[in-house]
């Protein structure tokens, strides 16, 4: 997709306001058991959502999906995608991107909710 190794000369770690020193793999690999547990949680949460939509179709089912789905997303982001183990910059960037999307969607509804 794009260069997996950046080039460019004097990247002096000391200069950077963000990120730890320009090291690579600053952290040890995460234990396999942790990932398996996250996976089990994801499956279980999926079951909860499906069950809610089957047994309580309508408002409750949708409500459960609206609560559970972001939790599932957070599990994937934090553990599978490693955000939990990265420097804060990555989390801030991600949150900013999501906030912009949410903001834009919200503003669109200033039109559609009040037509």
């Amino acid at each position: 997709m794009h260069d997996s190794h950046t080039t460019g000369g004097h990247a002096q770690p000391a200069a950077h306001g963000d990120g730890h020193a320009g090291d690579h793999a600053a952290h040890a690999p995460v234990a396999t058991g942790t990932f398996v547990m996250v996976w089990v949680a994801l499956l279980a949460l999926t079951m909860v959502t499906v069950a809610a939509s089957v047994w309580f179709p309508g408002k409750v089912g949708i409500g459960v999906a609206m609560v559970v789905t972001p939790i599932k997303a957070a599990l994937i982001l934090m553990w599978f995608m490693h955000l939990k183990y990265e420097t804060a910059v990555f989390r801030v960037m991600f949150l900013s991107a999501i906030m912009i999307l949410a903001l834009v969607m919200g503003l669109t509804f200033f039109d559609y909710s009040f037509r």
């Binding site: 690999p29 999926t46 939509s53 997303a73 669109t108």
Partner: protein, 217 residues
């Protein structure tokens, strides 16, 4: 994409830089990768906005139309993709721990699960196609506008997602080749890690597609 791109000019500049025979900035690369993921997120974001607007406008029709989707297949595919995300992190973990063969096995498993996902998707789509429910199809054309909108959104969103699955499989294939040839190795596994990030994003999008389409009735 390349193995030796990291040598640009560092040597010419200062003795300190010359000491490194190669210059790498993995955090920089990872920053770039995440920025790329944001663009993907916003690409789907546009579709999510359209979905939200039309669900607001055609709430009842969306509920009606969602009955026609096969819930079992949707849920099965969710399990398949979630499991493929697990095998993907295990592939990265194995390479980090220098277990190359194991890493390749997990990567193969991920690839297989992706195939499985696409087969189920194909069955689902062809069943719809069979009933004339297809963008431009005559049955879909004859539906009330709201239900037609639901299915057009369904095909566009799962279609775009499906293309991402296909691309992901292609990338996995090339990464596997590069692990075999040693270009991606326990000491430089960033490419595999980034493939994983991309794959999890594909998973992440699907997690939202499941309740939006299969669980709305």
């Amino acid at each position: 994409m390349h193995a030796e791109g990291g040598t640009l000019g560092a040597a010419a500049v200062s003795p300190a830089a010359a000491a490194h025979h190669e210059h790498r900035d993995d955090i920089g690369s990872k920053t770039g990768m995440w920025l790329f993921l944001f663009t993907e997120l916003l690409l789907f974001g546009g579709l999510f906005i359209i979905y939200a607007v039309y669900r607001h406008k055609y709430g009842t029709e969306f509920h009606e139309a969602a009955h026609e989707l096969n819930k079992a297949m949707g849920v099965t595919n969710t399990f398949v993709l979630l499991t493929s995300s697990l095998t993907m992190v295990l592939a990265v973990g194995a390479l980090q721990r220098a277990r190359v063969a194991e890493s390749l096995r997990w990567l193969g498993a991920t690839f297989g699960l992706a195939c499985c996902f696409l087969v189920i998707k194909f069955l689902e789509w062809s069943a719809k196609h069979h009933h004339g429910i297809w963008p431009g199809g005559e049955h879909l054309h004859a539906m009330p506008p709201g239900e037609g909108m639901f299915f057009n959104l369904y095909f566009m969103m799962t279609g775009l997602h499906g293309i991402h699955v296909l691309v992901g499989m292609g990338v996995m294939g090339s990464i596997a080749a590069r692990i075999r040839s040693g270009h991606v190795s326990p000491s430089r596994y960033a490419a595999l890690e980034f493939t994983g990030l991309y794959w999890h994003l594909v998973d992440l999008v699907w997690i939202f597609l499941l309740p939006l389409f299969y669980l709305t009735n």
